[in-house]
Amino acid sequence: MDGYYAWMLVSASFVLMMTVPALALFYGGMSRSKSVLNMMMMSFGALATVVLVYVLWGWSMTYSAGAGDDVAGLFANPFTLFGLEGVEFSSYVFVAFQMTFAVITAALISGAIADRVKFSSWMVFVPIWVTLSYFPLAHMVWGGGFLSALNENGLSSLLFGWDAANSIANVLPQDYAGGTVVHINAGVAGLVLVLLIGKRLGFGKEPMKPHNLTLTMIGAGLLWFGWFGFNVGSIVFIEGDGGEKDIAQFMSETGVTWMNTTVATAAAMLAWLIVEKVRDGKGTSLGSASGIVAGLVAITPACGAVDVYGAIVIGTAAGALCALAVGLKYRYGYDDSLDVVGVHLVGGIVGTVMIGLVSTASAPGGVDGLLYGGGLKPLVVQVATALFAMVWAAAATLVVGLLIKLTLGWRIDEEDEVEGIDFVEHGESAYDLGTSGARRSVLGTGSTATEVSA
């Protein structure tokens, strides 16, 4: 299994790259030129703080599920494995991989509150938020906690009883790579913060269009690339002893998750473009970048549970629904600046819930969903899981958000916001394209292009 292990080294590296630089670029390009650096710094800062917090108590809170360590199935003891004390070196790669998930989840939130938040408040918010919202949800979903436990105390057993004979829940909740923990979690956190912090000055009146779409497109491309680590690296082995069966599972399941990830994302991009074409008459590049992310988000929980047709259906639904959802902020007047709610919350819900419909037992990690004759129960479990995650994330974010609002405060001064947060919070400006050739040739050049005589 050193091949699988090598893949995990790659996957952890890919997912770290998703936050810095990929997400930083995706968000940075969409912000205004006076706030791009701050936007990127929010990703950079989230990376630095979450990494440190994760090795100190994050891993322990999520996975130290030894005897008596688990608090009501909600989170594990932060001190059992504090500072990775007692963690085998051979497990470090898994710590690394999980760490990068916590990083990007926190960083995702920043898009909702662009251009207006004190950098110091953000840097305080992040470590507390991952502690109260991310680590518990990760424990509940992946660490054997409440949402995934197959024993009698798990959510599924509470809903549909328990197969005592085999000591297993009757219905299996599914979240392959983080629809709830990552996307619903970040999306809800974004929404709560937006409501707490308020709109940007001029929201809905001034144009606040992307200042550099090439950055956003690089970001979307690198996110897709990195997402192969995110999804495909999330394989969990049935045997887990590194024997023949594990190897066989590795060499077939990963192919499926890779393929589903790609197919759903392609479908989502097309769906978003088609919605735009029908509604506005043209498909946009921002739409294609956004469709990519919407597809990736939605297939995240589902990539092991569906076949290629299921992936196409989920991708199409996510692309179309998110394309419609991003307009809602204008209708309801909440300034989810870069559409964290519209893409991650909506996309995360689409993916998590549709598993209940199009999941199939023929996929490596799937059970039959409603449309495959699996009945309503899988759907209900998925919906219940999503709802629970939303409530938890909302409550946790509210606590941290209010705490900061009442102490440090969230917003920069109004004048500073107009002036531009890059100057004010970081003392910098992103571009100085200067009197160089940049503009010299702008007006055109004297004359024609002529072939150089060879």
């Binding site: 269009k209 506005d280 043209k282 419609l324 007006l443 055109g444």
Partner: protein, 112 residues
């Protein structure tokens, strides 16, 4: 001395420059500006929001000219920059009291 200021469509700049060169104008100062007028800009669309772009890119040319040449030069610009479609721009003439060439200190006609 007069200052001729012309605001024209960007893709006409090369033609105007050539025509002026042919007439004998040896120098001018140009800049990129945005025009607001009858010609309307575009609508851009970003994630469910429309933005009306009120402004249209234009090129502004400033030429300091001898009184005698003023009419010819205005004529050349007006003719060459003409497309007949809304947004072709304006040319205006204003008085100048003196002009100096920094390199030599030459004044007025000699400075051109």
């Amino acid at each position: 001395m007069k200052l001729v200021t012309a605001v024209i469509k960007p893709h006409k700049w090369e033609d105007v420059r050539e025509a002026l060169e042919a007439f004998g104008v040896t120098g001018m100062t140009v800049s990129e500006v945005s025009g607001y007028g009858r010609q309307k800009g575009h609508t851009e669309v970003y994630r469910g929001a429309e933005y009306d772009i009120a402004l249209v890119p234009k090129i502004r040319i400033e030429i300091v000219v001898d009184d005698a040449d003023t009419e010819d030069i205005v004529g050349i610009i007006t003719k060459t920059a003409h497309t007949g479609r809304i947004g072709d721009g304006k040319v205006w003439v204003s008085p100048i009291e003196t002009v100096i060439r920094v390199r030599t200190g030459d004044k007025d006609a000699a400075a051109l």
